[in-house]
Symmetry: C2
């Protein structure tokens, strides 16, 4: 499970920072979280494999979080994508995409599956054998959701050096699934506890942008391995953070501390700050395992 | 009258080139022609004064010509713009902007005046004392217009060294407007031909992107001072140019030659070309006064 940062800016455009976009990589596929203007150029710059991208999640419909979506979709189409794309986003986003495609007389070569998120209450919006996606309400100026992506515990690992050469292939799956296996021909019983070890433990990432300081989200992100929480402002603008429904570095760190996460990444810096090192200093006074989001950085869990 | 290039790429995104956007500067205001994704970042990079921008013209609704518009509008609003903005574009663009503003719950601080262009026939779409805008049909895959901007002949210039010190101020305007003036007190007649010279001659710029090779546009751009004409392909892809309703460098040059323009700028290069010097070589075989569009370049007429 890895988390790659493509954008660290906020609403006012900056030359040095792109608006929000983050790629979460799982085994052999990836998810894009938010898609600010220019994200498709960040895909080129950081050589993100579009073919692996199967899911896009849009947290809310402020432009710095989604104005790049239609460009990305259009470029996928120009590049002859055929694999379907699943988009989770606020109600109305599907209507907008449909209108934009209609106005340019574009027939997509691939299918878009759109699912509207629910900004009013926590939901499990996606679930399969490999991972799940939860959303939960964030308090912002317009409907907005936080996102938790959980990579599930992997199956048990077989201790291959203990397996005899005549071990039936069909038994492997049973062992991985946690069963003891009896060889009916020889009568030998292969105890699961003896021939396997624990698989990878579950891993989780949570994404909270944009939001006012709000401890009610703690339960939804409790003990995640990695938390991205916006820190639009530093301590000098705590009042402004509240007024604009954003957070400060210290507020982000307070949420991370209460949620007992392993690591906190802060980003979404306001354009008013020419340097951001004091964001880190401030956050670390509350939660030491904090890092600053920088474009191109990846975090592997 | 000047023409500044912000984007030289075409539909498929390129790291080295931005999609179409061009700023036409007149006396104390400017017009933006097309607004591909990322144009607002080009405004920052090239220090384009947003406050001077009064008009935006969108040629057609392929994404590389307008996906940056909503971002630009949103950023104007964040930056507290209060001056109205006049947008000319294909029917449907206003509906799209309205929907995007509604979804982000944005109330603009400034007024947008939208005028739908007519892709079916030539039209004078704007006219005042200073300049006029004509549009004319381009043959592309979706409705598309070419644009001609004409800066009008300026008023006659007064030869100040000939004017006596007791010359009534109210007479200046009459002389500038081309009249002879009689001073009723002294009986002296100031002959216009003696006290003024010609003002600046009219100047014009035409913009043709995107279009198949089409000589029917020649009459609409005849003898303009500066013609921007797309050259998506070089001679190796003449067939593909026709199939995709685009032009080659030689075709753009042929149009420039037939229209007897002073200068031709070609751009909108396909991402397949890593170098473009051969575009210039090819175009110059037909029309020598050709230059290659490069981002950041300005042409003063």
């Amino acid at each position: 499970l890895d988390f790659k940062i493509l954008g660290t800016g906020s609403a006012t455009p900056q030359l040095e920072r792109n608006p929000s976009a983050f790629v979460v990589g799982l085994d052999n596929f990836s998810l894009l979280i938010d898609c600010g203007e220019g994200t498709q150029f960040q895909f080129l710059k950081y050589k993100i494999k579009s073919s692996r991208l199967k899911y896009i999640l849009i947290s809310h419909l402020h432009g710095d979080h989604y104005f790049g979506l239609i460009g990305l979709i259009s470029s996928f189409n120009l590049n002859k994508r055929s694999d379907s794309l699943t988009i989770f986003g606020p109600p109305g986003l599907d209507e907008l995409i449909t209108l934009q495609l209609k106005l340019s007389n574009t027939q997509l070569n691939f299918k878009i599956n759109f699912f509207a998120t629910n900004p009013a209450s926590p939901e499990l919006i996606y679930d399969n054998d490999v991972f799940s996606i939860h959303t939960f309400p964030l308090k912002h100026r317009i409907p907005c959701v936080g996102i938790k992506i959980t990579q599930k515990e992997s199956k048990r690992k077989i201790i291959t050096e203990k397996i005899p050469s005549d071990f039936p292939i069909s038994f492997f799956k049973l062992l991985k699934d946690g069963f003891d296996v009896k060889d009916e021909l020889t009568g030998k019983i292969y105890k699961n506890s003896e021939y396997t070890t624990l698989g990878q433990p579950p891993k989780s990432i949570a994404y909270c942008s944009d939001t006012i300081f709000d401890t009610s989200i703690v339960e939804h992100i409790f003990q995640v391995n990695l938390l991205y929480h916006e820190a639009t402002f530093s301590e000098d603008n705590t009042l402004r953070a509240t007024q604009t429904f954003h957070s400060t570095a210290i507020q982000a760190a307070t949420i991370a501390s209460k949620a007992k996460v392993d690591q906190l990444i802060i980003g979404h810096y306001s354009s008013r700050y020419k340097t951001i090192s004091h964001f880190l200093e401030e956050a670390k006074t509350v939660f030491s395992a904090t890092v600053l989001a920088e474009e191109g950085d990846s975090y592997l869990i």
